[in-house]
Amino acid sequence: MDGGAIAAGIPFFGTLDWDFIAENTPVFIEAAGVTLNISFWGIVFSLLLGLVCAMILELRIPVARQITLAYIEISRGTPLLIQLFLIFFGLPKLGIRWSPELSAIIGLTFLGGSYMCEAIRAGLESVGSIQYESAQVLGMGRLQTMRFIVIPQAISTSLPGIVANVIFLIKESSVVSGIALADLMYQAKDLIGMTYDTAETLLLLVITYAVILLPISIIGTILERRFDYARR
């Protein structure tokens, strides 16, 4: 007795077209590649942008600080779909044309950078002044203090926020279907439009997102334990 036959005996699952699901699974696997690709680069650049912004705010660099604060407010205060529309449809009017993939990555970075900045900043601010002073008393310079003392401790505090942001950005990447990028959401809408097999398509969509996100959640939990110095 295969899995489909078992599921067919359960209410709701019994009504599903399992042949449709089997037939379209490769489409979702391919679309998952697109989602993972734009999410991966979006997250990497978000972390870098977030780190730069957090350092600017921490070091209180004049002008750059005000620009960063304005960026954070705009980034967090506007929906990703609008940001993507501006990047993909608005910038060409200024002569700037990017591919849907690049637009999606830039859009995710623009959104994620502000969230990552706040998570990293929370970590940096959680390190007490006594830690900086202890390092100073031991003759450590600013860079050594950051490298050996502050950043490792800040990561411990920031990690739950960073992991939450990673998951948020992967889910939020579903919005890129709005600029004709064939990600998971795009394929799901396409299939529903063509076949009206809504339940099967959404089930495939949910399962694919869960397969991507659950391992990330588990890895996040392991990393949080790894960096949780207070519980060792």
């Binding site: 830690q131 002073e133 202890s134 008393v137 031991l138 003759g139 310079g141 050594q144 050996f148 060792r232």
Partner: protein, 272 residues
Amino acid sequence: MTDTQLDTSTKDTASPKESGVVLETRGLVKRFGTNTVLDGIDLTVHRGEAVVVVGPSGCGKSTLLRCIVGLEQLDGGQVLLDGEVVSGEGASVRSKETRQRVGMVFQSYDLFPNKTVLGNVMLAPLKVQKRDKTKVMAQAEQLLRRIGLWDKRDVYPSTLSGGQKQRIAIVRALMMNPDVMLFDEITAALDPEMVHEVLQVVVELADGGLTMVVVTHEMRFAEALADRIILLDAGHVVEESSNPSQFFSNPQTQRAKDFLRSFEFERSRENE
């Protein structure tokens, strides 16, 4: 009181072991806004001498240590190490170098929570002083064994008691081979039963000839440890004595009498 258990039998309380001035402050002034916390402090510490600074809360004791170690910018005066101006007017060396010559242990637990005990004590000698790892490890083992915490070398600070943390903080400062050690109320945050184990380490270090300036509220400890005692009040040195026993039994100034009166109740309870 746990400090009554201190073994002071080996302590030479006769006179300071004078063999040259290691640390000196001249007319040291520190202000926070309009509040003058230190108002012209002159302090001389000789090699091998244990100078204890006492005084009411807010009198500037901790600020004095922070100025000496370079954590605070001076508003006037100088700090000299071995005759060389290291802070204040005409400072000739960088503050980073000064800090390596002056060790300090704080009131609150200041171990790095992301480092093991060994990581804490070896970090600065390896990364700041760039010393040989084998030699640093040997020194760490010797010092950690001396305080009975070698078996804790691979654990993180969160698993240690307050007393253990402070003893390791002392070792971490000693690992830099400082000319002078500063102790800033190192037992203030400890449970009473842990006070003794920490103070005992300080007393042993003083007996071993380590030059130190100690800020404390533990009067029995101060009496047992001090070669010289200084009473600070409102940013001024009110009384200074090279005979701690006499200072406690027969202070010369009214301010010292008033200050010590608050501890008489404590003493009378101990004698009952």
